[in-house]
Symmetry: C2
């Protein structure tokens, strides 16, 4: 088992929920270093070490300025803890921008990676689909999409255990000519690329079917798609509940179906998949949902632990190297990496 | 009641399904002029006039070249029928690109409108949300987003009867600073614009809740969002069905809930809302789902009929004029309209 640096600040439900999540994960044997105010985290419990942090970065702060200007903010301390080797992975349910920035600054990018991407396993019944980028890069170029394809494919192979994952580009039609200029260019390059099982374009309707294992898009579209999928599942689930309450016969039916529907509800809950992982760094960093329950926090810690134990970072780096992905037009013509914004 | 020019070609389920849909709509008193091969459309029935068309445009054809080069293709004839006043509106379940192009060429844009947008009422339980653009413009500038906001707001007010509809821009965060450069610029302009009830940014999760009446985005994101919402509802619906079959108690429960769940399934079916309408033209044009059932075709015809009877085109033009939307930076600085691609 690994050691996870967990940010106690910034979760919508407060310290108590993060602490409860830490206890659930610690009960699995994962060691936790919990960064937050000791006064709020007393008697944390076995396997949890409280590391004092009194400052934090909010959703309203501009991430880069805040991470630079507040070296003792909880997420900055936790990221440094990973960089210095005291922990193996970072987990935070606070500001996504701050977590990404602190991770990037402390953990650095993998060789040849221009833009780390936020990848999430979609909360779907009986399927595992990795969507990236879910919000790290609002605007991208074709070469970034190509690199996301390699990052996602490596992760799914290493952590989800899928051999030769089917990788698709999210677009507005199946034909390779459909989509923005960046999508069309990336599709042409991936169609003849080595070391990746590229399956063409996926449309919006293909995302929840599980036909593709990895779906690649820009961070604007991906963020909207992830939240829309979560929101739609919630609205439809609520409508099923309303339908059950619409008359006495339905109510009886709903009671009989409750165990089966409860299982489905858990599969569709955003908390189940444990949040999004930042791919392309020299370390493991997981962004948990801000609204995470204790179980959601625990699942984010478990995802980070699994990524460490499966040597995701090393295997992703090896896969990128093997595929020559760091050489296939993924650097600027002058050979320098571009700066991540 | 109005007269609708209906394209008999291009629907996934063939002529018979389109004809069956035409009969359903004709039974409501809507007059149909059906453009297709007379041999396949014999004994069409009362209220349906078959207009001979033997050629058509497929999904594989490049729309602009095909519409220009095939003046006797069914969708081109049907669009011209509307332009010449023999019909009041166009409906096609064939190639979306061909339908949009034929409509644009024959019906022309409303004064001051640069880019017509494809708008769809989302298939949601108990809610009406209009999403645009759903695919007419893969890439847009800020001024196009602003104009889509006015087009959508006018349509929802005129046809759906919502007073002062709440209009939002789809983005990656609620804060006005979040999103692409185009979204941020459009948000700033709309925040101080007149004649529109602008409510800020909507996130993906807000789309299915009904919190906003009109959600504005580019055609790439909108197309993916619409299809993803339809796909997610279908997958979740299927999972509820599977849950009902997972054990005998659930099966009994599922039978008791069947009437209530059937109603929900109809609400979530893409066919229910009748397809997407092209806003910003001097005439009514509706793009039905390629996979439409007869009921889906009939609903698309009913949507076109309602748009004609509610004088959508005139009222949208008046609203744009009243709001000064055609003057608020919605033309190029040189005063010429930009070309729709």
């Amino acid at each position: 088992m690994s050691t996870v640096a967990l940010d106690a600040f910034g979760a919508d439900r407060g310290y108590a929920e993060v602490l409860a999540g830490a206890r659930l994960a610690a009960a699995d044997g994962i060691r936790i270093r919990l960064f937050g105010p000791p006064s709020e985290l007393a008697e944390a419990g076995e396997g949890i070490e409280v590391c004092a942090a009194e400052e934090w970065i909010t959703n309203e702060d501009e991430p880069v300025a805040a991470v630079r200007g507040r070296p003792s903010a909880s997420v900055v301390l936790a990221a440094r803890d990973v960089a210095e080797g005291s922990s193996d992975a970072l987990v935070s349910a606070g500001s996504t921008g701050a977590t990404m920035t602190a991770s990037l600054f402390a953990l650095k990018r993998l060789q040849g990676v221009q833009r780390p991407a936020l990848a999430a396993v979609l909360p779907l019944p009986e399927k595992q689909v990795l969507l990236l980028d879910c919000g790290a890069n609002v605007e991208v170029r074709a070469q970034h999409l190509i690199q996301f394809a390699y990052l996602g494919s490596s992760f799914v192979e290493a952590v989800l255990g899928v051999a030769r994952p089917r990788v698709a580009l999210l677009s507005v039609g199946e034909e390779q000519s459909k989509g923005t200029a960046e999508v069309v260019e990336a599709g042409q390059a991936l169609a003849s690329a080595s070391g990746i099982n590229f399956a063409g374009n996926a449309e919006g309707r293909d995302l929840p079917t599980g036909e593709f294992d990895v779906v690649v898009t820009d961070g604007f579209t991906g963020n909207i798609a992830l939240k829309l999928l979560e929101g739609t599942a919630k609205v439809v689930g609520g409508a099923v509940r309303d339908a059950a309450r619409s008359n006495p016969l339905s109510l009886a039916g709903g009671l009989l179906m409750r165990p089966a529907l409860g299982k489905l509800r858990r599969q569709l809950a955003p908390d189940t998949t444990g949040g999004a992982i930042l791919l392309g760094l020299r370390g493991v960093s997981v962004v948990a949902h801000g609204s995470s329950s204790a179980e959601g926090i625990a699942n984010a810690v478990r995802l980070a632990d699994r990524a460490v134990r499966e040597r995701t970072v090393e295997r992703t780096g090896e896969a990128l190297e093997r595929a020559g992905a760091t050489r296939q037009g993924l650097r600027r013509p002058d050979g320098r990496d571009t700066q991540t914004r």
